[in-house]
Symmetry: C2
Subunit: 321 residues, 2 copies
């Protein structure tokens, strides 16, 4: 455990988006899989998706810093996805937090938190900004990214989320700029920043003429708990990483259908149809002790599949032009 | 971890009372200490004292069997002591439990559970027998033991508990019985069972004449969160094991007083005054990374002190005549 924790505590490379799986079980925790939660780190902020019992403990084990937590996004009001929330908020309070925290989820999330805190004589003094959504809509407008939500297909209202990073401006094509008469130096910098400049011979050169096309930002989709559905497809469209529930394997497709869940193969089909680049399966039923079952079920349809483990970290590299 | 878990899963010796610490931190979990909970195993039953967030996970890690859980006893309605309760109940339900479960605690515990389950559309189908207490009173009348509660001194109503095992009948003094004319064989067995018998020459011999004095049962007291107080002393009186909170050490005696907690030395003084045989300190503030601080603070007053660690198991041996 020591080595793993040490590795996890290492700083993320600059510009990296990292996803840390805090709990990957479904319904009931096992000895190796905790209840659903996932931390997404980008630009010095952490977004937490779902908050099952034990999340605050896993958060610490993963070496994540509570002070960086900016938003918590809850999929739905089933116990395994939210019962870590009151304890996490109370610990943030005990830890002296003063900065705001966004809490987003389906209608009822605010009432759940208020009712729990009230009964336990607990008080959260930092600004807890609760917003309730039924989707499709924008949930967070962050610095350099946005998060949208869409209602999935589960037994109760359940929100899927997609984080979309803003596009990066294209690089300056210096050769083209020179050809248009722009001198090396400050003018090049202004073009790079998107401005228009006037050359020595009085010609106006716009940034559009000399910048390469913008590089699309990264997209990460989070779809649990759900049947495969059009909302999953929309959230996962062209995603760098699709995190999708995989409660069952294909031999239990009927269970998945009846209970409003997905099989690994169904998750893989969504990833393939959506043109996702990578698929991480989570929300694994405690019946599966060997991740190979899930991987095999998904793998033939979508080879770039990983079956997530607790405290596993995935890095989503920047897109290149 | 593998070895430790294997050792923990080993069966308890027959007649043993075992105490398994599931969480030993105070307020906030650390990387090594979870939130308060403790399992007491006796005669095939498990009694759970407090149920902080993550208890169900630790319960599994300790190799304890959910089917044996008979009663849950909650000290008070602060989040760190109860936030594992809804998830534990939901997991028992998902696991198909049908047998009754006793849930005991201060007034408000029932409302907390009902409010939480209702908001999460969760239903517990097995009989959950909730009783609320303000103490002093008997809480559980089990098979061969009783549990009493008493109100401690904390910021809100907080119950301490003591489990008292029934005395064992004294052994048969065969020499005395023979001297009184009892023949070896079935008559001896009846005397042992507490009956009177008639000897061959018509004399009535009562069990009282031939049995040694009863052997007192074991006593285990659980006092957290609290200032040292007369109720602690009463619960700990002649205890085989006193489990007492030790949030601070003596250099922070003022903090302890202000926050309604105890220092290790105060817990040790209670153990000494009460004539307890052993003291286990728990509810350790996250500020203490080395248990030696607590041990040293308690040890000079009460040498038979252990600073509990998560997943540590203590066996309370039978008393001898």
């Amino acid at each position: 455990m020591g080595e793993r924790t040490a590795a996890l505590s290492a700083r993320a490379p600059a510009g990296a988006i990292q996803v840390t799986f805090l709990g990957t079980s479904a319904g009931i925790p096992t000895e190796t899989r905790g209840l659903p939660s996932l931390a997404l780190s980008l630009g010095g902020e952490i977004l937490l998706f779902d908050c099952g019992e034990g999340t605050q403990i896993q958060f610490r084990r993963a070496g994540l810093r509570p002070g960086r937590l900016a938003h918590i996004l809850i999929s739905h009001l089933h116990g395994d996805h939210v019962l870590g929330l009151p304890g996490l908020l109370m610990s943030l309070q005990l830890g002296g937090r003063t900065q705001p925290l966004g809490l987003h989820g389906p209608p009822g999330i605010g009432d759940f938190i208020r009712a729990t805190l009230e009964r336990l004589a607990a008080h959260v003094a930092f600004p807890l900004e609760i917003t309730e959504h039924s989707g499709p809509e924008r949930v967070v407008h962050g610095s350099g990214y946005e998060v949208e939500c869409r209602p999935l297909e589960h037994r109760i209202l359940c929100l899927g989320y997609a984080l979309q990073e803003a596009p990066r401006p294209g690089a300056l094509d210096v050769a083209v700029a020179r050809r248009l008469g722009v001198a090396d130096g400050p003018l090049m910098g202004r073009l790079k920043a998107g401005e228009s400049v006037t050359t020595a011979d009085g010609r106006v050169v716009t940034a559009r003429e000399v910048l390469r096309p913008p590089v699309p930002g990264r997209r990460i989709a989070y779809c649990t708990d759900t049947r495969p559905c059009p909302a999953c497809l929309a959230l996962a469209r062209d995603a760098d990483l699709l995190i999708h529930e995989s409660t069952f394997t294909s031999d239990r497709a009927e269970d998945a259908q009846q209970k409003g869940h997905s099989t690994a193969a169904e998750a893989a089909a969504i990833a393939a149809q959506a043109g996702a680049r990578r698929l991480a399966l989570t929300h694994i039923s405690p019946r599966y002790q060997d991740p190979e079952a899930q991987r095999a079920d998904a793998g033939c349809l979508f080879p770039a599949t990983v079956v997530a483990a607790d405290l596993q970290r995935l890095t989503v590299p920047k897109r290149v032009a």
